[in-house]
Symmetry: D2
Subunit: 318 residues, 4 copies
């Protein structure tokens, strides 16, 4: 990898690892196509103990966002309250009272899926579409996340790279996770990764910022996948991948003056579904305890019409 | 049931079907406590075919809300677009472009769970707490929906009352579904309902308004559960119940001048988790086709801190 | 005017009435440049009686918007309430309590100014700028309404065309107000219109919809300025114009298949500041009573950085 | 003033300086009643030179808010853009294109008026009303800021205490401005303050934070009015007062463990209209240059129904 030629490296990876046309010209699912019924049938059997884990951070004003890219933390407000109900301010009959609420939030503010319309390469969106016609100010007119509504349920595999490769369960910021690290982790866990899997990569950064404060969690330095894993992401035919970091790939990026080059290959060219800011700690502790690193995973985006991302509360069942 | 004495009937049902204290003074889960690991272990085996269904309506401005209770439809806006990316307006290096978006919505605007802080009876919230201290303008300080994050995954049972009792799959507005209707439907489906189940009751109203226009779907007349089912809801020890209607119970309500009396018993007294505006049509068609009415269901609320409800994309796997 | 050739008519008017370059290449004020200190000095003397009028509709959920162009009515929610203060829920010392609130609204939802970045002609914004580089998803990067913050204070002139030309003070929907109507009204009012004035044209439509319901007030048929008034708007060198209707110009538009052709000339080519949905009724009644149709007017937009419009509460003082 | 007895001092000031009942039981205007037509008639003559000044900060994400009290900075998003117009994505005929936008903001986020429903004392709102019945989660049902829509236009008087009393035009944080400072400043300016005036007090803090960064501007230490000015505020019969600081009164407050005690007297007991975060610098420079410290001032709140505050762009004309 020539660190002085990001444009060339991105173009080469885009060419080698493209899935354009693989599922037809009209495809709106990308690598979620790998997660078929047969795969799902096998996966559901992994819920052996009936224990469930939420992999979502909480959505509130104490989140990591700092205004980068106009991303703010969620604002939750009440339309009706128990206070007013108790005081008789609601005018409802026979003692019934109610509370209602609303939220304003960027869809990229916390635990989320990136939709296929989230990143482009030289004006091209997933499957070779023209980005300018696909994602306008009216939203993603073609590959909105609503199309993924029923699909993101299958076999989850945790690769706890932080635990296997890191120190005290954590990788340092700027640590680039390579294919070798991923393979070594899978081997240490005695777990396989393959077609249709949803792979969860724990770096330990979330554990660290929880202890030390958000700092630059949103947009700053972080451990994450190396640009060089593009081939692995393509070859394994996984359905999706998620990390416990803001941006999935290593930060600072490995090229001079680059910005999220692995996204630039993975989303528009591979059609890979990417999850970010997942909270993998409780699940990881359980996997370490019982030595079982695969499970049934449901991570259903809200079908917001035309959205290029969605908050999600992923549920792993072991 | 004395239609002239809603206050008396509600008080009596509240007394008879209360679960206050059943799971300790600090409980924040209500009937979700019935959904334990053993139950979940059995349920996951129901995903036999690997087919998944989203039970969520789409979230967009074309939804049913009309301003009732200041509930509006979701407003989805873009922070960055493919248009700007294509025009080179984003200033990112090497051809990468991006799109981001945000949403403003009432948490009760479409497919949702009602949290335990959503309804009160005479100033009392779930488990006997003081509503005025529990749900303030800062949110639900005690029973916020974030506490339910990992729990709502278990056995789903569809009771397609519209199909069994109705005409061409639909019950008319104002139709009160009784215990007898629920039992007859379960019997017709050859399916049991019991402790820890998540019961989905299809009335067919959503099918009808999709065909005919929203009309009064949000707040107007609707088929739904009779107030008299309170005992059934309590006795069966189900973990949760959801319908394809705005308000779960029959509208107009069965008492003169009442407002959602079954909510008034079910939420604050039973601690019952209630889902509304679920889209059960695709699942129901499949159940009718294969005759199997139970399945693995994951309906994970977004863990919005202090929320009294949450949008949800429930995923059923058969 | 050839009703079959809107494109030709627009192009001709754009050419004839263009102010591009008139105030230099960097101009961000358009016709507000006509409202200079000398003009303002004369105007302030018009506040003879010390009576003030608000020309703003109220901002709330009972407004005219119906979702057209994703425009909704304002959503006002409370962050803190008197209810919670009274109950002691706020934890403030010595008996102090507080209430706070927030708003979510399109800037075009009610009484407003259109900024110079609100309308384009064939990709050109005010002063000949490239619309694609001027107003992106980050806002109006050049002519944002914040630049107008101190300027919109000067002589206001009411032309109550509804009263002079209409029936019982109201013009019917679809009525095109021509130059002749404007001149006749000014003459009837014994008032002049000239350089730097802010002209308020009352059609009476708001009076009617207040009586009869919003109906199509937002986007539907309405009385308004004829496309043929473009020359008058240019020649009079007024600083701004506002009406009591949603869209300033007559609706349906006078060409077949056109959409707001007068806007297309007036905003990008003339740089004319346009106000819409102003409530002129109380002021008009007073003007009819005392026969004085000019006054001191302050209509200060909120300096929202990069905004292409702003809600405004215009204050007329006679 | 006994710094150890805030409750007693507040109670005493509340009793001495109360205006309850002064304008009748139904009053919703408080001290704005002092600003009558006669006063306004005199004031308008102050616009001698025709120069106008905006006293508003810009509304954008670069504002001072830091989450205190769930107050955030404004979020401005686009519904339509010039980018999309240029690309032909809008589907409008004959080359017309458009841009629209929206805003989400706390009404207390930047330059603003506090409404009469903004602060309470021991559960009492302005004029002795029950706060719990006046400001609920539905808004201020009685004294909403919409009632003030036409009134806040009159004589403005700048008291540049920073310039007269401070060092290089600025008072240090924690500096309590007393009656003596106000009088000395007025004397230095050769300007009088009296019934119906809108008094603007410049501390210079905004100048400082502009130079040094927001720091604790929102809620932290600041110069401001001493609690002891309550009598002056009452005796002078001013209509309103505004400062260039977040909170009008000195911070930290002068009592141990108090929170905004002067608000607690001024809003619910006097009915005083208070403005905060006004940008007085350009106006102050002009006043220093020409020695004229009074002017015509229009500071019209947006008539948001039920609001306890409003953003405002005040316009001073000299």
């Amino acid at each position: 990898m020539n660190r002085r030629d990001p444009e060339g490296a991105i173009a080469e990876a885009a060419r080698k690892y493209s899935n354009w046309g693989r599922w037809g010209a009209d495809d709106v699912l990308g690598t979620l196509n790998f997660l078929d019924e047969a795969k799902r049938r096998e996966a559901v059997a992994l819920g052996r103990r009936g224990v469930s884990f939420s992999l979502s951070q909480r959505f509130d004003m104490n989140g990591p966002q700092n205004g980068w890219g106009r991303r703010t933390n969620p604002i939750h407000t009440m339309l009706m309250t128990g206070s007013d109900a108790s005081l008789g301010n609601q005018g409802s009959p026979h003692g019934i009272g109610g509370a209602d609420d609303m939220i304003t939030m960027p869809l990229q503010c916390s635990t989320q899926w990136d939709g296929l319309g989230h990143v482009f390469d030289h004006g091209k969106a997933w499957n070779g579409r023209d980005a300018a016609l696909t994602v306008t100010s009216e939203g993603d007119l073609v590959t909105g996340i609503e199309h993924m509504a029923p699909h993101a349920a299958g076999r989850g595999v945790l690769l706890d790279v932080g635990r296997v490769v890191g120190t005290e369960g954590e990788l340092p910021d700027g640590f680039a996770i390579t294919e070798e690290h991923l393979d070594a982790t899978a081997e240490a866990h005695r777990v396989s990764v393959g077609r249709g899997d949803i792979v969860l990569v724990r770096t330990g950064q979330l554990t660290r910022v929880r202890r030390e404060g958000w700092g630059g969690y949103a947009g700053g330095p972080a451990p994450g996948l190396s640009f060089t894993t593009a081939g692995w992401l393509h070859r394994t035919e996984i359905a999706a991948i998620a990390t416990d970091t803001w941006g999935f790939e290593v930060r600072p990026n490995e090229f001079e003056h680059a910005f999220q080059p692995l996204h630039q290959v993975a989303i528009p060219h591979m059609g890979l579904l990417i999850g970010e800011m997942w909270d993998l700690d409780a699940l990881a502790a359980d996997c370490a305890a019982d030595g079982v690193y695969d499970f049934w995973l449901t991570a259903a985006p809200l079908p917001i019409t035309g959205a290029v991302g969605s908050p999600v509360n992923p549920i792993a069942v072991k």
